[in-house]
Symmetry: C2
Subunit: 205 residues, 2 copies
DNA sequence: TGTTTGATTGACACTATGTCAATGATATAA
DNA sequence: TTATATCATTGACATAGTGTCAATCAAACA
């Protein structure tokens, strides 16, 4: 149990605690005010620290938010890495549906936070970059899956894996944001079924 | 020729001219600095007017930018309203390809401005709203097209027109932004062909 | 106990916004 | 022609946020 928090020197303990207070207060303020309207003053007030203290632990508002996002983003990375080795078209269809559901469900489980994330992506280049990392990870992974399906003669070979993966993820991502911002508008299941049908079979007879 | 600019009272002429100077200066500043880093001070300096003058003609930076966007947005509306009455699957495929090309081409022709638009969408709820208007117009129009194709027995009837239209537009939109931000990464033709193939025929055999 | 180290702090300099009372120039009326 | 009304123009001001830093305070150490 070396390095357990409660046997650190009291000074470092205190510092850790201050940092935690700032993170907790930050989360509350971001959820309440949104990203743009949240200010450092509101955070330090809620955390009961001095103004300068926030800047000791975080370079600025963006960095504070990125730290708060990290957990959530790691969960997305996990979904992106799901294995995919279908032996038949039907199995592929089911696998795909399952991954779409996990992706959308994760976003909906963290809906309040995801709303703030969306706002933050638009405002802060650093946070946008973080999200692009997730996106590219998904697309890379889906590309691999498509190449695998093509090798198995399940998928059409005249489609470019990278472009197809990208287009497919874009639809998923945008529906995700739509559901996050506008839960009531669509049934999550309808979205999944329609997306997957489109992807696997196309629109035309 | 009633109301032609040069027979208005000199005072109104002057006012019009001031407004134009602000718009021109605004465009230059936005293109040079981007949306967030553009300031009213930079604009009025370039327009050679007093600080307060900008606020006489525009409520704030957002309104000034929206005025500058208007032309461009109307061009998108025109693309959205393109007619679509295919008699056969091949004709549908060609029609769709044509519309995708117009959409992407318009964005690329106004690439510098579209970069700023993208940034502005993320920062300003009013501007985001404007873009959502365009998006919904496209989706509405595509939904109609899909229903038409379904009625003609060209398109699969087990797909929901509204959801399918939305998913399809999302792919197009996101590729558009990708091309705008990152021209060199993809060949515009490859994108069009792959998107259209996916949409009409799906990924799986 | 005295000294060093590092956590904490708020005042400060800076940058931007949006408002408004004053100014100046044009149109109108006498 | 002159007086007056109208309205475009203006920059100083109040406000609100950011990020920095020299000073302070308390724990660790010698």
């Amino acid at each position: 149990m070396k390095n357990s928090i409660d046997q650190l020197p009291a000074r470092q303990q205190q510092a850790l605690k201050t940092r935690q207070k700032l993170l907790q207060a930050g989360k509350e303020v971001f959820l309440e005010k949104g990203f743009q309207k949240a200010t450092i003053s509101q955070v330090i007030k809620k955390a009961k620290t001095g103004y300068g203290t926030a800047y000791v632990y975080f370079k600025n508002k963006d960095e504070l938010f990125i730290t708060l996002m990290e957990d959530l983003m790691n969960q997305f990375y996990e979904v992106a890495e799901m294995p995919f080795k279908p032996q038949a078209k039907e199995e592929a269809y089911e696998n795909i549906k399952k991954q779409v559901r996990l992706f959308l469900q994760l976003a909906m489980d963290e809906r309040d936070m995801m709303k703030v994330v969306k706002e933050a992506i638009g405002v802060s280049p650093e946070i946008e970059e973080k999200w692009y990392g997730i996106r590219e990870r998904f697309i890379e992974r889906i590309s691999v899956d498509i190449r695998y399906a093509q090798a198995q003669r399940l998928a059409k070979e005249n489609l470019d894996p990278a472009l197809t993966a990208r287009g497919w993820f874009y639809s998923n991502e945008m529906f995700m944001w739509e559901l996050v911002m506008n839960q009531e508008k669509y049934q999550i299941n309808d979205v999944i079924v329609n997306l997957t049908r489109m992807y696997t079979g196309g629109l035309y007879e």
